[in-house]
């Protein structure tokens, strides 16, 4: 079976700064991978490139059969990102946001209600405008969208950040579930203890590329 993600010497730029400096990796479908590395190692950039937000400058990158140099839109439709920004519309309610995005992806908007309920956003919160939500609740909304969409590849960028204890447990539960559903998950996190039990293996990043497990230098 073709790997879910396959990068060869991938370079991505922000202006003239190399975000990725030649990253090579391969992730099989159904794997749950923990991305580790120091700040500025390129974890976020890698995730943003995989969902087609950062352009591939050189090298090759294939995501779920879509070559990122040619067909970023195809990749985007089967990939879900939980990033630092939640891309919600402030003026719309939680439910309207979910329904809009689901319809945009061609998913039955009725799944919004169940997902919101699951993330603790049911009842009164569902009809609250996003601008009145707390940061954690926004994050839950973004996560609810991912749950409802159930994409083939999940990209989670520091998913635990900003969530309360209950939310973190819920997140872990959701990740384990999608793992058993055979979804591929890339999860970047500094909280190793939290992430380790969820993941099959660890990929280390440093200086914008994949490195072997680092030995901490004194």
């Amino acid at each position: 079976m073709a790997p879910a993600v396959s990068l060869r010497e991938a370079v991505a730029l922000a202006g003239h700064f190399p975000l990725l400096s030649g990253a090579s990796l391969e992730i099989e479908e159904g794997e749950v991978v923990h991305l580790r590395g120091p700040n500025g190692a390129g974890k976020t950039s890698l995730l943003r490139m995989l969902c087609g937000l950062v352009a591939l400058h050189s090298g090759s990158a294939v995501v779920l059969g879509h070559d990122l140099a040619l067909d970023r839109r195809g990749a985007r439709r089967s990939v879900g990102l939980l990033g630092h920004q939640s891309f919600l519309y402030d003026e719309l309610t939680v439910e309207e946001n979910l329904r809009y995005s689901l319809r945009a992806f061609g998913v039955d908007p009725l799944r919004a209600g169940v997902a919101a309920e699951r993330l603790g956003l049911g009842g009164r919160l569902a009809s609250t405008q996003v601008l009145k939500l707390s940061a954690g609740q926004r994050r839950r909304t973004a996560l609810a969208l991912l749950v409802a969409r159930d994409p083939r590849l999940w990209l989670l960028d520091e998913p635990h950040a900003g969530l309360d204890q209950e939310g973190r447990d819920l997140l872990d539960e959701i990740v384990s579930e999608s793992r058993s559903d055979g979804r591929t998950v890339l999860l970047s996190s500094h909280e190793h203890e939290r992430a380790a039990p969820l993941c099959d293996r660890v990929i280390w990043l440093a200086g914008g590329r994949v490195v072997k497990e680092p030995v901490v230098v004194a």
């Binding site: 922000a14 003239h16 190399p18 400096s21 500025g40």
Partner: protein
């Protein structure tokens, strides 16, 4: 270095041609009936306008080529930028010489003549285009959005011209009346005009080529910087391995 030689030859020819145009235009050709010595502006003003339109046409074509995936090439983007910049210079000169023509002829520095008005709008349009090009960003992204802007701007040109000339034809301003002042271009005048067109076109080619080279050098420099940045970035990982 034959390409360099062609370029140098072009430059020399342009220089000689312009010098000859000036000499013929200012001293050799006769004054025209009805126009007096103002007719001498004829040898530079229309060539300026022609070069401006030529330059924008060039920018348009290369932008189109850049947008089409199969001919996408950073060289086309560079050419579009270079040509548009030279075009803006010539547009400015078209406006100034037109204005200088207008003052003694019509008694005003500016008249809402269709060509003049279109040219003025072109001037602002392409100033915007150049401003957009100067906004820093990922080279490919910059090139793409510039190409789209060039496309939009160029499509606007005939619409502007058409609407302005229609607008003018409905408002016959009495101060501007060219009817009855037929200008007969003949003999030395025709040759000088032709020479003007040719030599300013050569000057356009020379300027654009050099502007293009400048852009290519800047791009190469950026690439060099990128390679260095890439090495540095990769080295960041080295420490940890």
């Amino acid at each position: 270095m034959t390409r360099s030689r062609i370029l140098t030859t072009t430059g020399v020819l342009a220089l000689v041609g312009i010098a000859a145009t000036v000499w013929l235009g200012l001293w050799v050709t006769p004054n025209a009936v009805n126009f007096g010595d103002l007719v001498r502006l004829l040898y530079i003003h229309p060539p300026m306008a022609w070069v401006a339109f030529l330059a924008y046409g060039m920018a348009f074509l290369s932008s189109l080529g850049y947008l089409w995936r199969r001919t996408r090439d950073p060289r086309l983007d560079r050419l579009a930028g270079a040509s548009a910049e030279v075009g803006v210079v010539f547009t400015g000169l078209t406006l100034i010489t037109g204005s200088i023509w207008g003052r003694p002829t019509w008694g005003v520095w500016w008249t809402w003549d269709p060509l003049l008005t279109t040219t003025a709008l072109l001037f602002v349009l392409y100033l915007g285009y150049l401003a957009l090009r100067r906004v820093p960003g990922d080279p490919e992204v910059v090139a793409r959005r510039s190409a789209i802007a060039a496309l939009i701007a160029f499509v606007d040109v005939p619409i502007v011209y058409f609407s302005v000339s229609w607008w003018r034809s409905l408002h016959q301003a009495p101060t501007v009346d060219l009817s009855g002042r037929h200008l007969y271009v003949h003999g030395s005048m025709a040759w000088t005009l032709l020479l003007g067109f040719v030599s300013f076109t050569l000057a356009y080619a020379w300027l654009t080529a050099h502007r293009y080279r400048l852009a290519a050098l800047a791009d190469r420099e950026a690439d060099e910087g990128l390679r260095q940045a890439l090495d540095e970035r990769r080295a960041e990982g080295e420490v940890l391995v």
